[in-house]
Amino acid sequence: MKDELEKRLDRRPNDHPQRTALKDIPVREELLPRTVKTPDGQEIRIDPLQDYYCQAGPTVQTPAYTRIIEDLFNWARAESLWILGFGTGCGAIEMRPLMTPRFDAYRYGIQWRPTPRQANLLVISGYLSVKTLKRAIRAYEQMQNPKYVVGLGSCTINGGMYWDSYNTIKCLDEYMPVDLYITGCMPRPEALLQGFDDLKKLIRAGKAEGANRYAENFDWYKTNQKRVIRDWDMPDYSW
């Protein structure tokens, strides 16, 4: 899998003369261990990296049940696509018509959720700036398994019109496992519905294995992520 991904993507050396030495990136203030006084006057010691995050990496989730049960589960998963309401790029603007009466995605079991913990579908609605990529990875990692990623718009596929921008990533599948792409700039609500419908079919067929791909190739994805996120100041896995 890793080899295949490597092959598909035109690799370029990370270091080039123009780039100056990295700034010395300190760990975020919030992540430093500290002693905090609670409102009731108690002093407690907090080490965020220990206390807030899981130390283990992601694991592959294997079907634990018989075929029939698994199919039933997949049917249920397919009919409950809960999208994380994280508008990462311009495509987010077509999500609103989609979720409102005219296109009414709710009738297809699709709804918006405000937090990653409640969502199983991350829609990357267009280009990702490096700054947003960092948040998108955290959001993705915080989502429960099984989870899916849909790339929306040509800019997620091969950079789109930001192909020469210094601040956006070009191929989304380099940084997170993508189950489906919907092309367009931007795709219309109908195209999104079509995409979600196709995703449902994939899930029902048990082929939407992005999360497992992520777990299997975690190191590869991390390397790619860290290659572009130059100020990596967070735990490697944000679960």
Binding site: F86, T88, C90, I93, E94, T100, S129, K131, T132, M186
Partner: protein, 391 residues
């Protein structure tokens, strides 16, 4: 102005003007609102320092949508810039197209056919309606009135249908080209537009009844985010935020462009200068746009060209010069500062969206003392779109 604060808890200012906030004291909590947060206007975030449920300091963080347009345009020819500018502001892309086209036309000395000016005006007003409808949904949603957003998004979608049949696209229209507009109005457009306008008016009446005459909304919006008229110049405030403060600032009237000098309208103002007043200014402005569209369709010439003859755009060079072109978009003054150097590429483009000042300095000023639950409502009331800040 409602008094929310209990100043005894407040941090003191240091000598350099920043606040003396000691997170380890336990008095303060750092709370990030956004970028992934339902109460945020687009992909941005506000770093809040709260004391209890009251904000003592708020810092706007942008850059999540930065694509470097101003840089990208420097390596695109003048015509190649035309499709990318609309991406700078998603909910109201047409202003980018217009301002860019007008700046290029001015520096290149291109005369735009009159009919194209009318169609451009029509499109800009249609875009304004879209943007306001989206705003109303957002503003209501920020205070828990979810249904308004359902209605306005539906109404907006009807307008998107009109956009689609006129321009060939729903969101990024890429219709206002340097030199004019791409095409004429389609057959039977007026009729369908009138139907859409009536639907929008009816929706707005519903919105008025359920939002503006709603005790909940009034309770939360009145008095929130007071903007002193004196700040208008100091903070570079434009558009409905300024008009809500009683300052009748409207580029359409002050420095008429396109065909605004041939249309009848007066800038909408309110004096209370709070979230409610601004919402109401926008609602009335929206109705005015409905009226303007009717005026445009009644008065525009139906014959003639819609596009000037361009030189071969593949090697179109524009002599050295600089200019600034502004227009009144739904959030305020939108402007393009274009510098050319005689080559086939812009030397420098600076896009100045109204959110640049509203979401940064003004929001950071207004957010202090606000209850956390009202932060979203306050942000929406400034009607800011982050991509036009960072571009």
């Amino acid at each position: 102005m409602t008094e929310y604060s209990n100043r005894s808890q407040y941090p003191q200012a240091r000598a350099d003007g920043s606040l003396d906030i000691d997170l380890t004291s336990g008095k303060y909590l750092k709370l990030w609102q956004g970028p992934n947060h339902p109460g945020i206007t687009g992909n941005m975030s506000v770093e809040l320092t709260v004391c209890g449920d009251e904000v003592v300091e708020g810092k706007t963080h942008v850059g999540y949508l930065h694509r470097g347009f101003e840089k990208l345009m420097e390596r695109r020819t003048f015509i190649q810039c035309f499709p990318i500018v609309c991406r700078i502001c998603v909910p109201e892309p047409d202003f980018n197209e217009y301002c860019y086209a007008a700046a290029v036309e001015e520096l290149a000395g291109i005369e735009v056919p009159e009919k194209a000016d009318w169609i451009r005006t029509l499109i800009l007003e249609m875009g304004r309606i879209n943007s306001y409808l989206m705003y109303l949904g957002g503003q209501a949603g920020a205070f828990g009135l979810g249904v308004i957003g359902q209605w306005t998004t539906y109404a907006r979608d009807l307008m998107l249908d009109r956009f689609e049949e006129l321009t060939g696209a729903r969101i990024y229209h890429m219709f206002i080209m340097p030199g004019g507009v791409r095409d004429d109005l389609p057959e039977g457009f007026d009729q369908r537009m009138e139907e859409t306008l009536q639907e929008i008016e009816s929706t707005l009446q519903d919105v008025y009844d359920t939002m503006f005459r709603n005790a909940v909304f009034k309770k939360r919006a009145v008095g929130l985010g007071y903007v002193d008229p004196a700040w208008v110049d100091e903070y570079g405030i434009t558009g409905p935020v300024a008009r809500g403060a009683g300052v009748a600032k409207d580029v359409r009237r002050d420095q008429p462009y396109l065909v605004y000098d041939r249309l009848d309208f007066e800038p909408v103002i309110a004096t209370e200068s709070d979230t409610y007043a601004r919402a109401d200014v926008r609602r009335r402005d929206l109705l005015m746009s409905v009226d303007l569209i009717r005026q445009i369709l009644a008065r525009m010439p139906r014959q003639g060209e819609v596009m000037a003859t361009l030189p071969n755009v593949l090697h179109w060079k524009i002599p050295r010069g600089e200019t600034y072109v502004r227009g009144e978009c739904s959030r305020g003054e939108y402007g393009y500062y274009l510098v050319t150097d005689g080559s086939g590429y812009p030397r420098r483009v600076n896009v100045r969206g109204p959110s640049y000042t509203h979401a940064m300095t003004l929001l950071e000023k207004l957010i202090v003392n606000v209850n956390i639950s009202n932060v979203a409502g306050l942000m929406v009331s400034l009607h800011t779109y982050p991509p036009e800040i960072e571009r």
